[in-house]
């Protein structure tokens, strides 16, 4: 399939995936879009990683992004909090347009929580200190308030008893749950998950997914890059399939899994689901 055809297909799939209701909403509730990405392009040197990405995320919406490795899905969500710079297009988060201005970037990062594949906890700080650091120094909360908030979130991810340990003393699943709590302590508007379960043993994947499902049920806006298709089915409002730096297809989960439009998506789902 040529690239032009693919793009054609992608756009048709895109428009087809959006039910009329959502178009209506876009007209009446343009404000309700928490994240608006328009015409996003990114290159690593000569390599074109993200190609003409358009993506709107409403408040409270849960989006799962899947696709083969190297398709640019991680890069896309890393652009949202400016861990990666983009070269063309615009990203607006909660009314703030992402520019090169450092103040602007820090404002957006305060509103966007991120959970990494490798947890990235701070190994020299205790679990509690990991969670209170940013609220104290960025949100200027008092130590007492920050600790109270941190303990609340640690309870919600079910590890309050580990608060005084160091990350190195915890299992992978526990560390990832701490990482989620650490992000939540900043009261973000949206949470980005970059393959949160890929580095975990099978036994620990469930405990992390359970926390994420709970979070979704509480109405958090979430964008998850993941290969956990079960999670996508349960939680997602919209599943996005990416390949070669473009959004190939997006649809609600039932439609996406039962009735994929593009050949590429069918092939991918065939490989992911049937084994």
């Amino acid at each position: 399939m040529s690239e032009a055809e693919l793009q054609q297909k992608a756009t048709t799939a895109d428009s087809a995936a959006k039910p009329t209701v959502s178009i209506e909403r876009e007209l009446t509730q343009a404000q309700a879009n928490l994240i608006e990405i328009n015409g996003l392009n990114k290159w690593y040197g000569q390599f074109h990683v993200l190609r003409d990405i358009d993506l709107n995320v409403r408040k409270g919406e849960k989006i799962v992004i899947c696709g083969p490795s190297g398709s640019g899905k991680s890069t896309l969500i890393r652009c949202i909090n400016c861990l990666e710079e983009h070269q063309q297009g615009s990203i607006v988060v909660d009314g703030t347009r992402l520019t090169n201005d450092l103040k602007n970037i820090e404002t957006i990062r305060r509103e966007v929580g991120m959970v990494f594949q490798q947890f990235n906890l701070f190994p020299h700080l205790t679990i509690l200190e990991n969670c209170t650091l940013a609220p104290i120094w960025v949100r200027k909360q008092s130590r007492k308030d920050a600790e109270k908030l941190a303990m609340e979130y640690l309870e919600r991810v079910r590890i309050p008893d580990q608060a005084l340990k160091y990350p190195g003393q915890l299992s992978g699943g526990q560390q990832q749950r701490v990482a989620i709590a650490r992000s939540l302590c900043m009261n973000p508007e949206v949470m980005l998950f970059d393959e949160p379960t890929s580095a975990l043993d099978p036994e620990m994947i469930k405990e992390v997914l359970d926390v994420m499902i709970e979070l979704a049920q509480e109405g958090m806006t979430m964008i998850c890059v993941t290969h956990e298709m079960g999670f996508a089915r349960t939680v997602a409002d919209r599943v996005i399939f990416m390949d070669e730096g473009q959004i190939i297809e997006q649809a609600p989960p039932e439609e996406f899994f039962n009735n994929p439009r593009s050949e590429r998506t069918q092939k991918f789902l065939g490989q992911v689901l049937n084994h």
Partner: protein, 365 residues
Amino acid sequence: MIEQELKMIPAREPPKMAVGTIAWLRGNLFTGPLGTAAILLIIYGLILTVPPLVQWLFLDATWFGASSEACDREGACWAFITARLDQFIYGFYPSEEYWRPNLFFAQLAVLVGWLSIKSTPWKKWVLGYSLVIMPVVSWFLLYGDIFGLAKVDTHQWGGLMLTLLLALCGMIASLPFGVLLALGRRSDMPVIRSLCTAYIELWRGVPLITVLFMASVMLPLFMPVEVSFDKLLRAMIGIIMFQSAYMAEVVRGGLQAIPKGQFEAFDSLGLSYWQGMIMIVLPQAMRLVIPGVVNTFIALFKDTSLVLVIGLFDLLAIIQAGLNDPKWLGNSIEGYLFAGFVFWIFCFGMSKYSQRLEQQLHQGH
């Protein structure tokens, strides 16, 4: 049948020959004909050398006396050291003011003790005092000319006191400068990056002896005549600038070992560059570079003896000067042994302290 197969195997004692003294001897000393021969040879060598050495160093040694005449030539002449000990420690500092360097030494000992004993409180404050206030206090204490203290000019300073001063100032000042230079060299801003790189490459490429000559001979040529800049101060600044370049490279090694994820994590939490560096990256990086930093400190401590080329009398220089005293001719072995011993004590102390620090800061990752 199946239940029997599933029975767990209990832990058992290791076989006799794997543990215990005999196993240790077999494993480490007598590991075969060649190993056994080597061990026996070493034991024979020790029997030949150690007893005469002890005889010379201690048993036949003369400990006190007024000149070389008093010494028995069979043993070491430690009288040379004991008779001139004051000078070796204080240089030409006036003897009625010895309490001031003594106070300085005492302060140093208390601080080092405080910081190395695990259970003492207020460690952060004590560390802050040692790094910021202590050098200033020490300067005024030793130099005087304030609070009714008699002025003691820096050309009268010498011996161990001077060695410690130079080394301490070099260590305390080079660490923060080194950290800044290392951060600068990894900066995204091209101007800062090239400036720091140029500084490091320039100072690292010049021998310390050249730096000291420059500081003592060349620098005054560029200064207006009215500005007379203390020679000791110039040497100190030279040492600090030189040492900062080395420190920067050691610290940079640590910075590079911090995974990219740590930077991304503090970025994504909204922490600023400096917040992230000070609270996340540097604490981890500094822990990694303790061995390298202490290595640099030890090298610096020994390098301070180079100040003798610009006419400052540190411990080694003052011992050398003492060797030329007609009363004490022929004691160079004792003099140099003593100098080596004192240097070794301090360097070994630093090394032990750093090992302790590494253990204390280890958090199982």
